[in-house]
Every structure is written in structure tokens, then in C-alpha cells.
Symmetry: D2
Subunit: 370 residues, 4 copies
């Protein structure tokens, strides 16, 4: 009865429904002395916000309000509560289909679990709840940046069109700039165009497409992760698989490792400037569930948006009879680009949690005044 | 400092090292009144046990002892402690390489985390710790079977050789029988032979191969899973990614969903005998992080065993100089078949935990006597 | 870094500071189908609200807003977020003493922990945060009442004046009515008058007094509590000792048991209407950490309010020199009566959590509609 | 279904029954590099072991075996599993009363919870399970001692006879020596004699007596504790109230604070050697749930042993009829002295957990070797 809290030592609890009054979260708690303003959060929320021709027509300013835990511009070490009012909720749009189960959505499963369902745009099961994750993740990212840890995500694939960029050779700030410069968040501008075309094509057919998001964590210290169950990769898989529409997660060479030999998949260990390093990074920065200091590489498969206007078979649960459904209204024909900041946020929350557990983030970022 | 406990309401804590005195676990706690004998556990341990020409030469009887929580043949509702003595530990075999970091292993990361390392076969990072997971999973499976829930795993792929069997059309008992009838645990006997050849070929080259394990959960009730973070798929990903050598996890159509359209990936909803059902199962039994009553389908990529006798670059950490390593000794050239019962166990522990949280498993399986 | 969540299966996370924008909580989550209105919450908040001549002059309407988790008047099974705006915050009142450590308060310890301190009325350490506890507790109490469980608290002692009422002989509704009918929440009207006099007397001297609160849980089922660590009494002690100003907790005969013999302290076991019962209740309804079906009896010692206008020795932390402090302003000369609903709330949250863990509260209170 | 784990960042999970094969625990996990031998544990177990004329006649060597987590004499940072075989179990002694509920014991409540009961000496509800707590606490104490933190407990009161020693004026090593020098663990030898007489007198009458244990933590750093729920005092209350037979817990001035005025109960704040200090310690070392650097003072009321040979009313649950019971056999007429090391252990486990959470104990006590 309590699956809405993420993290062990750095925790976020989220709340809110798609067409309720607001969504929000409580972050318990950033260390004291972190400079934090609403614009630090807003910056990330704006990346997730709908907009542009490839996105839902729902218009949300997604303006965040910090309600607690910050005093004189700094965190106090107590819970940071954040709230985002829902401004453009239109529950009435869902009334005509409130008894129909939308295929690929959680309508049936929420009903099976609770015997009662907020049918307004999926209620809690809507990806709108990810606003709160991004808000919490913004704090995690800001905190990590103080320790030199960078986290950048981008679109690796959409509708079968792949981007083959080798991130290991680039500055992450460059990858970020490239990815943020187009509507699909693909760092290869040429590939991005083809992806956009694929999305437009699917939209025209009343259909949707999926893809793959990749997130890189650079400069995470070696040694984070808590085997045997709370391994870094295990918790990343948990964090990312819990993002709406994600159906698969892989680390480093991932599923391709199934087709490699050991001698090929192992990363040779070498000295770099007198420190342990790796010639390549098939491990994706994690060995035995603990970071090895190299880039942490996480990829997630995002399924095509289940809301499509092509008629689909379904059941009317009030009358318990088979029927058809056409899901109109406001939704993204491809959720992949907007999933990027969400998955980044979940990765950031995971990494910061383990850094706290490893004792690498102090309870106060300030010098004590006595 | 405490990543060795799995589960929320049905918990297992494991302990033990590869070449220490013993490995074991505490299961806190099965409901009272479950009939439980050591042979119920032994049966599953025997499936994981090494043996045969494709496996490590370490010989362990893996005989389990139940030390608590069972009285007059029934669980009492208190913790069940289980212990398996290590009988064939040979720590001395690792002495010559104790200062060398084995590529693909956790040698470096444990050192980075703890500054100190049990070099005897990887210590805690060895897959030997999975004995304890299988022991705990055996209780979970027995308990689930009382509620009609079946869990069966098998090898879907090894060294690029795939088994294309459609499990949805078969009894799981049949899948089990087929899979257990060969050394690679592949339910297609013809394909199994080719897989075996691939393994033998890699062995001959002093190398190793990887593959994909699939686990099916049948008859799990609709409604289990705890969004938004403790979704069923998120926790399954966590459970399975934490198994040694796993580098990727997917649910249902998984990564292939990235290349599908929404109209194609959605499962049409229909009535079957008056109940909600699905025409196909690309969702892998989970929608919005909650089970939908269909087969839960989990696949995991298992990397090739990192221990290979082909020389590899590495570093001697005592002298901090680059060198080469040849990992001899007792290890599996392909870990996939032995990973099957381990992943089954983790899936079972996940499912039973959520069934308890959903209120579907009572605290006592007995009628009260007063 | 995360001590602001209470509960295992029925969880509340609170946030907010005394003179910040608001206080609030997230309850994760009541079962689906609980009828819930803001007035259900408001009723309890009003009991905790300041007012009357014996209380702080701070004026807060403490109007609660439910922001999520309720749809069409019923809980949906998802998190209930509640918010109470701070209306009468006057942080400027604390500016003159912001560098002085108030004796008996948490000023020094927050500084020692975080190196930084919200000096506005104690910030997070203020008893104002208990508003959120009472809001969450109101849901717990409403839910428990559906299962017949009643929870009533009252003042057992103030400034050495004791109320000797034997609650076991009374209806709890009667105890409630008696206690709520006077300013000190003592069910004995005569004793209440003396208590009031003692408070007025201390006020006149610029001083404060303490006392003892007692909370009774009636009709809790036998069998709740999770030994060996999460015993019912252990978790009650945790819940209640965490309330501001509480310095001691006891169950049943409590500290007086230290002076009894076993034959005297044991409760004789008898049959009542064919069921197991007890002739008396020195156990306070708990044996071996599990409820026995009798009244659960919890008492808490509440220390005298540390804010007194009598000059006290302290230290100016900016200048690190000894000085004196006079704490003026708005505070209660005796916190005991207002602690009653807070302690009730904590007891209710504890009991409901254990009832969920015992499988006694279903995930949905509704009949499924399919 | 999982109340057998204590702690957040430094966790212990215990298992075992009074007359089962063994009792034990898993500590997850001490930091790497702690020198640890079985004799470090044994020393504490020997303090808890029965013996002498005032104690049960059960004879247990309570020899501990460390099964994991220690390599070459140092902890590795992985779980430490410890086991103590039950040598002198005599379950047959309980057979004649297996259908009778022992007053003051958990017989009825376990039956109510689980519908099934290990009647052999109370099974899991027996104080025998505290062996495992003491074993885990021994590690906590050894670890704390490296950071200068001392923990000493003693008997403050038995059968109404009080020891009025002022511990604040003494070295804790002196208190320890005095307390350990007599059978009742009272640091005042004269008072100890009277206590012993009271116990012998009760024994003679087939009865039992209770008392009060006090535990002091000295040199704990200011700043530990996690408000608002996981306050240091709240978690201490939880830890200690969960010890068998404890019915009340208080901190510092405790229940006597109810009768004091604020000006009297507040501890004046002063400078001592340029640091913040307190003129007295009514707070018991804790303000706002966070340590203030002064002695942490915890007192627990221990009820008289419920096993008495005086006939008591009870019920035969098989026949559901009222009857009488005489509890013979091996038990302590006063559990107070043997509760001392158990309560110390629980306090130590609590303090070490908070020190880890506060970032004061590193993951490795060794210098990294690379």
C-alpha cells in the first residue's frame, strides 16, 4: 500500500493525478546548505513539458512551487515539498470512454487492483505523474553536479531508426547540446530528421511509435552500489523500468552480451594516469553491481504510445461486453523524447542515493558556524 | 550498508562467501502453517548445483539445513533460517592471482568500495551466493503453488542460437519437463543440441558464451504491483538485474516494442468465459506496473562467463602495474542454464511479496484452533 | 537523510516548517473506496488548533486541502496529499534571538546536525509539524472506525495533579465527551479545574508545566504486531516518543510493573462469552508484542514547554559567548491538552499499519465492478 | 510478515526459537576492516548467559560461530552471519502445558496471530532470541568504541529497591566494573545485597520481581537522530520497548518531567572549554530527537518474570475451558540483571545506525591499497 516512495537514504515520495488539482513530491532530504531556487527545478520541468508539433496539445506551464525545506536560499536538511498545479486538466474529455478499457493502458489493472478507478486521463497511472519525478531529479542532478557527476540522456532510437553516435568520445555537455537542439532529442541532427519523419508518418496514420533512450552518468566515483540485492544496476533497472511505457532496461553491452564471447565482452583493465581504467566499456560502468568509475550506461526501451486513434478491440466494463475504442484527444505520438528527462531524473535519484549510502555526500554542505 | 535483504513484506536476507564456511539466508517470514521439509528446498538447490561436462568441476552437495521457523513440519510464521555448508572450497587456488583484477569480475569494484577484498573466488561477489536465493525462492514457489501460481524458466538463447518455442500454447509443466531434460535447459531438444555444441566449442577455445533466460509466471492474479515506483515490472527488473552476470531485463515484447507501432503493440482486450482477457500478450502480463492476469513474461540477458583462460590485460593492484591474467580453475563456460533456477527464484520472491502486499496471502494457512 | 516517513504498509510522509509557507503530508495510501471529505480531516485538526486562554496566541485556521487520491468522494488507493497553509507566521518575532540557543529546544542540535538552521520558531523542529500528523491520523482513525476500532486520548495528569478515572469501565465515546468538554482534556471535570489553576499559576510566573497523556485503543483485534523488533508496543513507543516534548512512554501497568510481583502483574486468563479474555489489563492489551484483544493502553510523559519567560542561561552561537535568554511570544504554557490529538494520531497510524500487515484491511473497500 | 530486521543502514536480522536447533543473526553490514574475532562476541554473550543461584537452571554455553563476512580477521563489508547452537533445549518439559496459555506470556497472542504455536518454551517469543541481539550488539559496541563512544548499562531498581548513584560524576568504566561485580548488576554494592534478598524472597514464594535498567551512552557526537519520525529518542524507545518484558521507556528526566516546571526541566546552556555544554542533563542527551553531545540516558521498566509457580487462572485452548496453571521449570525469578546486556545491545545498535546515517562511520576502516 505504499509504492510511491523511491530511495533509501535520499527519498522522494510523489503524489497526484493527471486531472486532479496538482501533482507534487516530497524529497527527504537533500543535505543542508544546497543553494536551491525554483528556477533550478523549472529548467528541468521545461524540458519535460509538452510543446511543438510532435507533442500532446495539453498546455501546462508546469510552474513549480517550493513549499518547504529551503530557507534564505539554501536547503535546511529537512524535506523539500514541491507542488505543480494542474492548469489544463480536461477530465470531461474522458467521460465518453470511462467504461471502456484502453488497450495498452493501465485502466483494467487499476480496476483489478482497487475495484475503483479515476478515469480522468488514467489518473495516477498517467505519465503526468512524472512531472514530480523530474522535479525531484532536478535536485539530485544539482547536488551531483557539485560532486562532479554529470548525467545526460538522449534518444538512441525511434521507430527503428538508430543513432550510432559514440558518446564515450564526447564531452557530455556537447551531447546535451546536440540532443536538446531538436524535437526528438537525438544528438545526430541528420538521424533526428528521419526520426521526426517517422513520427509524423505514424501520426498521420493515427498511430504511434516507440524507441530507445540512453542515459550516461559520467564521473560517478568507483565503489557505489550495494550488493547483493541493491546493486547499482539492479536499482537502475528498478528506477527506469518503473517509468511509464518502459518495457526493457539494459546496462552497457546489454542484450548484445548474449551473443558475445567472454574474451570479447570483458573490458581489459589498464592503468590510466596511474589509476585503474578500462580499455572499453562493455560493462557500462558497473561490475558486480558496483560502479567502476567509467561511464554508467543505461538504455531503456520505450513502447509506442498506447493511445491511438485506430479502432481497437476492448471491453465495456459496466456492461461487460466487447466493443471497439478510438482514443482521441491529447497525447504524444511518440513518448521517447519526453521520456529522456524523466529517465535522467530516475538515474540521478538512484546515483545520489547510492552516493549518500557510500558516505560520499555529507549531511551539510556548509562549514559549521560554531 | 545493508543491501542484502530483498522484499518488503516477504523478505529474504542472504549471507556467505564462495569459499567461506557456509552460505545461507533468513526468510522473514512465510505464513504460518505451510508444510515445509528440507527436501522441498533441496529439489531446487539440486537444479542449480554444478554437474555434467558443461559445468564447473567444483563439487558441492549443497545440502540445506533448516534451522528455525518450522515446527512439527509446518512453518510457524517466524523466520526460517537456512544454511548450506561449503564443502569443496579451495581458496588456495586463488592465491596466485590474489593481486590481479580479473576482467569482467567485481574484483576491482569491491576493492574500490571496501578497500579490502576476500579474494577467495570473489568472496561475496561469487555466484555461489545464489544458492541462498534459490533456497528462499523454493519456499516462495511452494507457497505460490498453493495459490495456483506456477513459475517456470528456461533458456531462450545461447551464443546466438535461439529457441522459438511459443510458451503461451503449452502447459508450463510441459515446458518444465522439456527444459529440464537437457543440459542447457532449452525446451526445444534440437536447438538444445546446437547450443551445447556452441558451448563445447567455446570451452575448447578457453572461452565462454552468454545467452538469454526466460521466466513465465502463470495464473498470477490480476492486480499485483505497487505503482508508481514499486511496479511489478520495476521490481522484477530489480530482482533479476541483481542476479550475477545479468546485463539486461525485458518484459513481454521488451526491446522489440521500440520498433513496433502502438496499434500493433497494444493487446486487444476481449472477454474469455465472461472475464477480461487479451488476444495476445505483448504486455508480458503487466500494464501500468500491475499484473493483468495473463502470463508474466520476463527475459534476462546473461553475459558470457568472465572467467576465461585466454590471456587478458589487467593490473596487479599490489604493485600497480599492468600485466596479463589467465583465469584457470573451476568455472562454467556458460552460466545460462544454471542461471535459470536462480532467476526463477528471484521472480518467485518478487511475486510472493506483491501477493502479500495485495492481501492475497493470509498470515496463517491454518484454521485457528480456538 | 530520510526520517520523515512513518509506517511500513500504511505510510505518511510529512513536510513543512513552523513559519514556512505551509505544512502537509502524503498518505501512501489508504485502501480504495474510503469515503473521505476535507471535513473528516478538519474535525481532528480543529481539536489540535490553538485557542482559549491556556494556549498560544498564534491564530491559524488550519484549513486542510486534499490535493490528490480522492475521486468522486472516495479514495482511489493512490497517495492522498494534504496541505495546510501557514497563515499567521511571524518569523520576524524570532529575529532578535536567532543567534541564541533556546534551552530545552532543538536549536543547538539542529545546528550540530546540519550546520545551518531555520531559526523562525524552530523551523521543522516546531510542534507545528504535528498538524500534518493529525491530518494523516484522521484518515487512519476514520478507516479504523469502519473496522470497529476506537481510539480516544485524554489528559491523565498535569503538574502533578492526577485523574484517577478507570477507563476500562466506560464507553470510549463517554470518555471522549468528558475529555473534550474542558480546556485541559481531562475526563474528570473536578480534576480538570485544578489542572487549569496549576497552568494559570505557572503562566503567571512566566513558567510552564508538563503532564501525562493516555490513549486507549478499543476493539483492536488480537494478533497485530510483528515480533521480534516490530512489536506493537515497540512501534507504539517509537510513534509516541517521536512526538515533540514526549520523554517517556509506557504500556499498561508500565513503570509500576517494576514494583510488582509476577503473580500480581500477570493478567488471569478467562473465558468471556466463549472467547479468551483477561480479568484485568496490566498488560495494556499487548503480550509478547502482539495485541491480545483487550484495550491497548499507552501513556506518554509530556515535558513542560521549554519556552519560558524566566531568564535562562544560554550561549550566543555567532559570538560564542555565554548570555541569558528570555523567550517571549506565542507559546502554550502547557502542551499536554494539545498533545492529546497528536498522540492519538500517532497511535492510530501505528495500529492501522499493523492491521494492514496482518491482512485485516483489504486493498479495496468496494465490491469490484466487473 | 517481516518484523525481524532492526536498523536502516546498519541492520540486524535475527532468527531462532528457544528450543529449536539454534539461534542466530545476520548483521548487514559492519564497515570493512573491523578487526573481529569470535571472542569479541563471546565476551558479551557470556554476560547474558544464565548462571548463579538467581538464574534459570538451563545450561547453555552460548558459543558463537561466525560464518561469514570476516576474512583474515577483518570484516569485509559483507554480511556477518552468526550462529549459536541450542545445547540444553528440553522441549518435553513444556508438553504437559502445551494447551494451557501461560498468563503474562505470548502464548495466546502468537496463537491469535498465526493460528499455530511452537509451544516449546514460547518458541520465538522466548527471551532466548535475545542471544542474537547481544551478538549483533557486540559488533556495534566494538565499532562504536573505535569512535570513542561508550555504552554501559546497569540495574537502577529491583523490587522497589532503588540505586541512587549519580553516573554523570563517574567514569563509565568504573560504573561497569561496579555493576558487573555482583549478581544483580547494581553499581552500589550495598543496594545490590538488598536487591538480591528481595529476589531470593520472591523465589521462595514461587514468585518473581521486576525492576528498572538504565543505559548510558557517553561521547556520542552531537547531531545524530533523524526527525521528525526517526528521532534518536523515538528509535531508542522502539529498540528498548521491543526487548522482552519491557513495559516502559524513558529518556533523561523521563516521567518525572511531568511534575516539573519548564524553568526547572530545561538544561542551562553553557560553554565548556569553548564548546557548547549543559549544566545538567534532564534532557538525557537528546533535544528535538537529536543528540546534544551529553550522556544519552535511557531507562526501561522490566516487568516481573511471568513464569511463577503460584497457581494462576488460565484457559486450556484445546478444550476451551477454564483451568489453573503452575509454571514450573527453568526460568529467572528476576530478569532485570540479564536484561542489562540485551538493552545495552539494542541501544548500541540504534546509535551505530544513526552514526552511519549521519555519515560518521566510513564504509571502510582501512586505507585503500591502490
Amino acid at each position: 500500500m505504499s509504492g510511491n516512495t523511491f530511495g533509501v537514504a535520499f527519498r522522494v515520495t510523489t503524489w497526484g493525478e493527471s486531472h486532479g488539482r496538482a501533482v507534487g513530491c516530497v524529497v527527504d532530504s537533500p543535505p543542508a546548505g544546497l543553494e536551491l531556487k525554483e528556477k533550478d527545478i523549472q529548467k528541468e520541468l521545461d524540458r519535460r513539458k509538452p510543446g511543438g508539433r510532435l507533442s500532446t496539445k495539453r498546455r501546462e506551464s508546469d510552474a513549480v512551487e517550493i513549499l518547504s525545506g529551503v530557507f534564505e536560499g539554501f536547503t535546511t536538511g529537512t524535506p523539500v515539498s514541491m507542488l505543480i498545479w494542474n492548469k489544463d486538466a480536461r477530465p470531461e474529455a474522458y467521460e465518453p470512454i470511462k467504461d471502456l478499457l484502453r488497450p495498452g493502458h493501465a485502466d483494467y489493472t487499476y480496476l483489478a487492483k482497487f475495484g475503483f478507478r479515476d478515469w480522468r486521463g488514467g489518473g495516477r497511472s498517467s505519465a503526468r505523474e512524472t512531472v514530480a519525478r523530474v522535479a525531484a531529479g532536478a535536485i539530485a542532478k544539482k547536488l551531483l553536479s557539485l560532486f562532479g557527476v554529470e548525467i545526460v540522456g538522449f534518444t538512441r532510437e525511434i521507430a527503428g531508426v538508430k543513432c550510432s553516435i559514440d558518446v564515450r568520445e564526447l564531452e557530455l555537455s556537447e551531447v546535451y547540446k546536440l540532443a536538446e537542439s531538436n524535437a526528438v532529442r537525438c544528438p545526430d541532427a541528420e538521424v533526428a530528421k528521419v526520426m521526426e519523419e517517422k513520427i509524423v508518418e505514424a501520426m498521420g496514420a493515427g498511430d504511434s511509435v516507440g524507441g530507445v533512450v540512453e542515459v550516461i552518468v559520467r564521473n560517478a566515483p568507483a565503489g557505489i552500489g550495494e550488493p547483493v540485492f541493491d546493486k547499482l544496476d539492479a536499482r537502475l533497472a528498478y528506477a527506469v523500468m518503473g517509468v511509464p511505457a518502459v518495457k526493457g532496461v539494459e546496462i552497457g553491452s546489454g542484450f548484445s552480451a548474449a551473443r558475445k564471447r567472454g574474451s570479447e565482452n570483458n573490458d581489459p583493465i589498464v592503468l590510466k594516469d596511474g589509476k585503474i581504467g578500462f580499455e572499453k566499456n562493455d560493462a557500462g560502468g558497473i561490475l558486480g553491481g558496483i560502479s567502476n568509475g567509467d561511464d554508467i550506461v543505461v538504455r531503456a526501451c520505450v513502447k509506442p504510445t498506447p493511445s491511438v486513434s485506430i479502432p481497437q478491440k476492448t471491453v465495456n466494463v459496466r456492461e461487460m461486453r466487447e466493443t471497439e475504442i478510438v482514443v482521441k484527444g491529447r497525447h504524444d505520438p511518440c513518448i521517447v523524447p519526453r521520456a529522456v528527462p524523466v529517465i535522467e531524473a530516475m538515474v540521478a535519484l538512484t546515483v545520489v542515493d547510492f552516493m549518500v549510502l557510500q558516505g560520499l555526500i555529507p549531511r551539510s554542505l556548509l562549514q559549521k558556524r560554531f
